[in-house]
Symmetry: D2
Subunit: 413 residues, 4 copies
């Protein structure tokens, strides 16, 4: 589809400077009707101001979509992912990655509803998010035109962006210019939703630099966290958390509450160099307070409810599952295959986990389940009604038989 | 081989009550010459007393083997395992598992040297260690007879053991009886070496009980650790740590030093329910102070030195590698295959990692390497000499092509 | 459960010499009521004679169970397995392995129905079948007592078995003794069902011996097969074959028809050395005529209907899936996980496959599907409306970026 | 690097029409000095005519590189790949894929030697080969400029190519035009080397069409192959074939001999729809006569020489290994990791395999090795000195223990 054929574009619109410039640019370059979509994913910022700004940019009121999708986000994206104990490269809880397919889905839903032929986003040409948005969108609607202004325009410096904003009457906030109106070194590049907040850029670009204390916005530093530990109990059902300290909550409410507790106790800071899908390494810092608690707790409830081999197979499949989410393949057949395998194990993952939070530490201190596979009659000393120690001899002999046979052939190297 | 054919047995002998009883029992039941092997693996207890005790039991002085194998342990077992970032079931650093094959190897070496036809150990019939010892031994010498007294005798209660000890003049220490000579509830079942100490039994048998503070012997509680963080720098070469704060050290010295630092700052406590190889679940608590630091640090140096796909393949193979070690397959062809794959990635894993220790937290705060694959010219905003953002379009289009084609067939479900 | 506590045993009874001896032995040794279960799995032998023989051995008529389970076998066991394209060790189509769990299930069903407390089978202590029967039985009913006479009695030679049979009036057929009543070298050890027939033993015990022509019972030798090829079309739906040459058939009927065609054209002979679960290698020969056709055809219909990454993930998981079936873990959580993943891919696996059979060769010569992902507009020369060749440049650049960055660091080895 | 900066290009030159046009086009468009590289990979065509043609196009004699790289190809590329038993998507033996990295390597070697700054190839923008050439080249020299004319020029039809050739005095052979000089429908798109020949296009573009008999060039049709089978013996050492019928041969000689035998007996035709790396499906036909024999034979020698778990791990890693080669990642760290794992298993893969060839069938009829792990004392009936059947009971009980425990909890679903 060529530029002039685009009639209507749905833009993922935050209301911030960059996407406001994109909004204007789409109107100018594509001469297209723009529909804005602003999602409340729990990023902690008001979304209603985006309406005012969009309308100020000439968007028709009925073309401004603002949706609270926190519950859908946690229930259908975050929780399924946590059933897999997903971590990317040993550290990253995929807070940004898991939100992108949902935004892509909403863009396509709105495009279908409004008869739009294109979608647009504000991700650059160097990162993972462009891939996640676009693969998500194309998987859901193969003929959609995707407009990625950062890969198309020539506004690739802070100066040129500000210049464009000024020329077009787009409001420039304090954080983008100093008192003289000159571009400030941009703040950290950040992304936030109910699961996490991320930081990239600036000082972090040298992976040998420790992050500055002032960077972290969502968690108390462990050093400043309370001196007394705090205990909580998480209740699980079908592999998902459903209650805190016995109080049932909706998925988003529960995650928000865990974030609050995690924040207070300095839980969930991560500082890594990660491998982007587009080929380079990047430094990223993340705060995932509630998610960090959930990961520990889910593993703990699984530790008593899950069969050994099911658990091990999950562990072996997990890195690939996490990679699929990181690289934008949420809607792919292969992610769905893995999800089917994972979900098939969760029906008995039910019970409670007691957790202690203290200055950055999440410690599991108890797990209980009526589905439990733990039975101390089998494991402990001096009780042998159910287990015959002599069975171990045959078990070992046959497991070692291949070594015995190999060792008996003197020719083998 | 039948009982009466056994002429000479090498016993893994700690000098404690249980293996002293086994020593006596082997002499009585098998009428065999016993050779004792006591290893200094860094368990933190003197090994020389074992010599006195063995001789007191009638062992010939030349049949008492006491070896300091700490360096071999760390260099040839612990370090290769850490190259893989091995963790069992998401939590356990395999401290006991990794020591067993080395003990098995030494038992066989001594058996070969002394012409012994059997080896013996004090592991019960319910645990993993019997498997690890015996598969290790059989893999190294297929015709060895393995004697596992716990699976053979009828001394399967504390009372009967003490009775046997008394009758045979075996010294019973304070910890086994109360002031009246009655058997005390046994202490935690423990195992220690330079990598870790483990606890099982008692209070822990209910997985919903928090461990008692007094149980932990090797680490300061995070609550009691210093209020000020401490920083250190680890230097890596070929994937192994070689220096702390620039001071080169032997493998065992380095690990001992990390243990000291970890201990001080409350690092490395783990409390889990794990899946034993023999089929049941068991509660275990572990302290792995130095190992916990090494795992974090190794991942950090890999994060800048390792190719993405090599790192991901390592992550996918890791759970299986860890399981092999857990289940006693160190000497197996499949563990060697995986080790070959892992080691093939480590020649560029070289550089320094800065680490902050604080009340249970190990935080990586910097990584640097002349082998680094991190290059901020590629990842950062507003610099585009080396990277062409437009490349991303083709990259995304072709990665999405299979979805575009699938989505274009209206028959597909 | 001790011997004397066993009141009622369900025996997997073929009506042959070995299981007739077991029947008698169970009556004598266990003083238990015996229930016989004989399955028609399509082995090609009459099952009714087993009724007569059982009654002749004193089994009450109501305790003789004879069931035709061919349709259940093919629909719920064979077809799900073929969805996975399962092959063990690159060659074996798992014909025996896949039947065992169903027999175990029926044994337990009958035990539950009749209040039996034990099941028994005629598999030896050296093979895989004992494991498959017993793990299957225990997975379905954990308190069942399993009696494996071959591991228990002392009748471990042909002579002693015949002696026992004679003493107890058990009919001995021609194939077991020569004209003088002396034991003959036993025929090949065989197992058959609708999916395959297997041969072990005798001449085959030297893996360097070619099987004798006379051994093969189910397929024409390729040399003697018709000189003209024969074509057929298989129709698939949801990943399962549902029709031959447009004629819909039940699962068992369809497989029987494929067997007939395969037999005629010399399809499906396999001769391998395989790794048994109990630790040794064994030589086995197999004829799987229909299965060999189904494997080829299923791959062919998948080749046009299945997404690339789903197909590749299936291929990567397949060896583990096949191993689980080979080793007796059909009812395990991990097999169900993998089945869930596999089945999640089959809803679009629908269409027709044209096949040519000729002297041992199964050749796919056409595939067609309304679900097809094949679209020659994308792949062929000189048509470029849908595909932009320039996209490939960005695709390659970004996929190569990690090598470009690595290659640019002169320090790297 | 921009067009005008390119001074010297090494072109992969076959001497055919397409690469002759490219040669001319590079001279015209890039004004660059062209160096031609023509490889004898065993494609069965003379390579010397390429010299004459190149010189006729104005290439300096010293800039014409013609190399016989058959031995390097088989020894360092084909054989390592066959150690892995590599097959892509269950059928394709990777004959084209495995040759591409070697050609890329030679292009870079010659570029380095001659001071060239670019390489060029004749692969289109729709296929896998462009990826294989370019990723290979960039992995070996990150700053190389790659020129892919098919993605750059506008000669994307047969007519325009012929027109260009005529205008530039490039010789047009019979197969490209009919008697009137009009472009003929191009012949199959083919690629050949010592391992295989491939066919794409024309009639094959409908995956429901059977290939025409006349298409196949390298193998006798099974129907026309000899009526008598032929036997041969392959000798293996370190996992590679070293002799046929006891006669030692160099790698390329051995493969050529196997091709001859396979050709005679109609071995190695494959007809599939495969998934290209660039996202679409494509129909391909292949003849791999010698390779098909080698795959069977290698599996057979492994079947007696390889440990079970090593063999299974190889099988699980194989699809990924094959995919890496298919997609052009031969020089990647991840392929080298897998190769290290595979090669670590081959030192005992030594011995002989007897093979029967008959009308399209490759049948293994014997295997023998002094490294053999097959020992009939373990597997056969009525010999029990080395194996204790009772061991199986403990083996089964402990393997089933997790099911017994799970089944004993009535709450579990």
């Amino acid at each position: 589809m060529s530029k002039k054929d685009v009639k209507k574009v749905v833009l993922a619109y935050s209301g911030g400077l960059d996407t406001s410039i994109i909004l204007k640019w789409l109107q100018d370059e594509y001469k297209a009707e723009v529909i804005t979509f602003t999602a409340d994913l729990g990023q902690g910022e008001e979304v209603e101001p985006a309406r005012v700004k969009a309308i100020a940019c000439g968007i028709k009121p009925e073309n401004v979509y603002i949706l609270d999708i926190k519950e859908e986000f946690v229930k259908d994206y975050v929780f399924p992912m946590f059933r897999a104990n997903a971590i990317y490269e040993g550290e990253y809880l995929l807070g940004t990655s898991i939100a992108r397919p949902l935004i892509a889905k909403k863009l396509i839903d709105i495009a279908n509803e409004t008869g739009a032929d294109a979608v647009s986003h504000g991700a650059t040409g160097k990162g993972n998010d462009q891939v996640r948005f676009e693969i998500g969108a194309l998987a859901l609607r193969p003929d959609i035109k995707v407009i990625a202004p950062w890969r198309e325009w020539d506004l690739n410096s802070r100066e040129s962006l500000l210049e464009y904003a000024r020329k077009n009457g787009i409001e420039i906030s304090q954080k983008h210019v100093d008192e003289n109106g000159n571009p400030k070194v941009s703040p950290y590049s950040m992304d936030a939703n109910l699961l996490h907040i991320s930081y990239e850029g600036l000082h972090l670009e040298n992976p040998n630099n420790e992050p500055e204390d002032s960077m972290w916005l969502w968690t108390t530093a462990p050093e400043k966290a309370p001196d007394a530990p705090e205990y909580l109990t998480l209740t699980y059902k079908n592999g998902d958390p459903v209650a805190i300290d016995g109080v049932e909550m909706s998925p988003a409410t529960l995650l928000a509450k865990l974030n609050e507790l995690g924040n207070k106790h300095g839980i969930g800071r991560v500082d890594i160099v990660e491998n982007r899908y587009v080929g380079m390494k990047a430094r990223g810092c993340y705060e995932t307070p509630g998610g960090t608690i959930m990961l520990k707790a889910h593993r703990a409830i699984e530790s008593i409810c899950l069969d050994r081999e099911a658990a091990h197979l999950k562990d072996e499949l997990m890195p690939r599952y996490a990679k699929l989410i990181y690289q934008g393949y949420w809607f792919s057949p292969e992610r769905k295959m893995l999800q089917a395998a994972i979900d098939a194990t969760q029906k008995n993952v039910e019970g409670t986990v007691k957790i202690k939070l203290y200055k950055g530490n999440v410690t599991v201190v108890g797990r209980d389940s009526k589905m439990s596979l733990y039975n101390d009659a089998y494991s402990t000393f001096e009780k042998d009604e159910v287990y015959n120690q002599k069975d171990a001899e045959g078990f070992i002999r046959l497991n070692a038989l291949r070594f015995i046979i190999a060792g008996s052939n003197p020719n083998r190297k």
